[in-house]
Subunit: 130 residues, 2 copies
């Protein structure tokens, strides 16, 4: 079952972090149709956040057609993202792990790694469009 | 001069996006001590956001000791992040560009690339601690 984690330094609201983590887990094939999300009660006890925050995130995911709440039972994934890229992701992940190890060995801290990634994604996406 | 961009899909507040973009530009050596930030008026006219949003971001950056507002003149960078990794960043950026090109050729969309990056950063950081 997915375990949520909150980054208090990110400037992203806890509600949005939960939504993004479910969306990303679907993209990475870590969540599939029929999988159950942790109950609101479980998330509240693990992360010490307001139950309304969790409910709001789950409602948004339901509104997006990704999960369905079954009264008294729980919230279940109702969509599986395309599997097309899952095999490619394994090799890409290995390449990225090597890149990250090199970046850390070069002395880059996590904020600089994040900055370099965002900057490179943006500049190479612009080139692709041009 | 730095040009801010806002991602309306990110779930991150515009104020936080401006703060992060300045911090990242400092990390990447794109902003240096003495550089001027765009005036609040310029940012408002370019991005169509509330002037209070820009002022709040600039105040937070000033509070963090990264910039200083000079009344009637503008806001200037007062800190330069360590240059230690700037040379390494060039080679790392080239490696990341190759990885991104491969990921896009493999059919990964931008959200999946972001998901794969965040997931790999988290899992490899955990390994480093263990």
């Amino acid at each position: 079952m997915i375990e949520f984690h909150l980054d208090g330094q990110s400037g992203i609201s806890p509600y949005q972090q939960i939504v993004t983590q479910v969306r990303h887990a679907l993209r990475l094939g870590l969540l599939r149709e029929g999988d159950q999300l942790p109950t609101v009660k479980d998330v509240v006890s693990r992360l010490a956040i307001n139950p309304n925050t969790v409910s709001k995130a789950y409602r948004e995911l339901e509104h997006a057609g990704l999960v369905t709440a079954r009264a008294g039972v729980g919230t279940f994934v109702t969509a599986t993202m395309s599997d097309d890229t899952l095999a490619a992701q394994r090799s890409l992940r290995a390449g990225l792990e090597r890149w990250l190890a090199k970046a850390r060995r070069s002395g880059l801290d996590e904020e600089t790694i994040e900055a370099l990634f965002q900057s490179t994604v943006r500049s190479s996406a612009v080139q692709d469009i041009a």
